[in-house]
């Protein structure tokens, strides 16, 4: 059986480390009925910029035959032979000069919203929390189906 910490995707406290009470309170609020406010608390906020490291790791291409004549989704100009291109992990390609300013503002692919990691710890925590909530729902659903389905 997986350990408590694995199952909850967290680490045991180190020696002398105090639990993060604010985080626990926030979780408690989200898990109780106040979750409906979630959208107002977090949803309105624009996603933060992509982490510098992730952006630096994006591969650079010069134009290959398959891209020639396709439009860059950001500026809508067709890729030309001397253009420097960047590819996101989702394989969507852009002019480097088009995608870099976008990623300095928001962490997701302009075409499909595939997310790059960010340097914003609160946002990353919120994302993990959302993932956990989804897992929990799926587990409850599964349990329900196994009993009544």
């Amino acid at each position: 059986m997986a350990s408590y910490f694995d199952e909850h995707d967290c680490e045991p406290l180190g020696p002398g480390e105090q639990p993060n009470h604010f985080l626990h309170l926030a979780r408690l609020l989200l898990d109780s009925g106040v979750a409906a406010l979630e959208g107002q608390m977090f949803g309105e906020k624009k996603a933060p910029p992509a982490s510098k490291e992730a952006v630096e790791q994006l591969p650079t291409y010069s134009l290959s035959g398959t891209d020639l004549g396709k439009p860059c989704p950001v500026c809508l100009l067709e890729f030309a032979p001397d253009d420097m291109l960047k590819a996101m992990p989702c394989k969507h390609r852009f002019h480097a000069s088009c995608i870099l300013p976008w990623l300095q503002q928001t962490n997701s692919c302009p075409v499909c919203r595939h997310e790059l990691p960010t340097d914003d710890t609160d946002y990353e925590e919120f994302k993990r929390q959302k993932g956990r909530a989804k897992d929990r729902e799926a587990r409850i659903e599964q349990l329900h189906d196994s009993m009544f389905g």
Binding site: G39, G43, E44, K45, K46, V74, L76, T106, C109
Partner: protein, 199 residues
């Protein structure tokens, strides 16, 4: 305006003009000034909705930072819809705020607005009065939205029983639009509408 913004708008303009939807007269864009900073959009009210056959005009302002920031869009045609202010025409739609993505275009924005007319989100309202009516008194909402579409968006369906109530207020010397707002907000209860106007 920045070069990328102008170049993009020019291309998008062509995209809309050539689009299938433009051929069906469902969407349209026009220039308002020559520097591509202000445009006028038009969408047709979707079929099987209270907005059917209406023509809704949109004011579109392109920011300097486009396409990294969304265009600013507002309904110029008055409309009764939970996610659009019946007073200012301001729109509550995620892609025009935090969910904007640089690959979206005028065409996708206009189509999203058309979709919004067909599928309101009363739990994320822009106009609280309309949203409440939508949730608590759906039939009256449909009638009211039809009436506004007839009056302001040129839709063909008349709503005679509402017109007679409006006339009663007009006979008391109340301005027509003011009477319409009061009656619409009071679920067409003439006594309550009269009270809000004269109190």
């Amino acid at each position: 305006m920045a070069n990328i913004a102008v170049a993009r708008i020019k291309r998008e303009f062509k995209e809309v003009v050539k689009s299938e939807e433009a051929a069906k007269c469902a969407i349209k864009v026009e220039l308002v000034d020559n520097n591509f900073t202000e445009l006028r959009g038009e969408i047709a009210g979707p079929p099987d909705t209270p907005y059917e056959s209406g023509t809704f005009i949109l004011e579109i302002k392109i920011p300097e930072t486009y396409p990294f920031n969304p265009p600013k869009v507002r309904f110029q045609t008055k409309i009764w819809h939970p996610n659009i202010s019946s007073v200012t025409g301001a729109i509550c739609l995620d892609i025009l705020r935090d969910q904007w993505a640089a690959a979206m275009t005028l065409r996708t924005v206009l189509l999203s607005l058309q979709a919004l007319l067909a599928a309101a989100e009363p739990d994320d309202p822009q106009d609280a009065v309309v949203a409440r009516q939508f949730k608590e008194n759906y039939e009256i909402y449909v009638k009211t939205a039809k009436h506004w579409s007839y009056k302001y968006a040129g839709a063909p369906n008349r709503t005679p029983e509402l017109d007679s109530k409006l006339k009663q207020l007009a006979d008391m010397g109340v301005d027509e639009h003011r009477a319409r707002v009061a009656l619409s907000s009071c679920d067409w209860d003439l006594a309550r509408a009269t009270e809000t106007i004269f109190s």
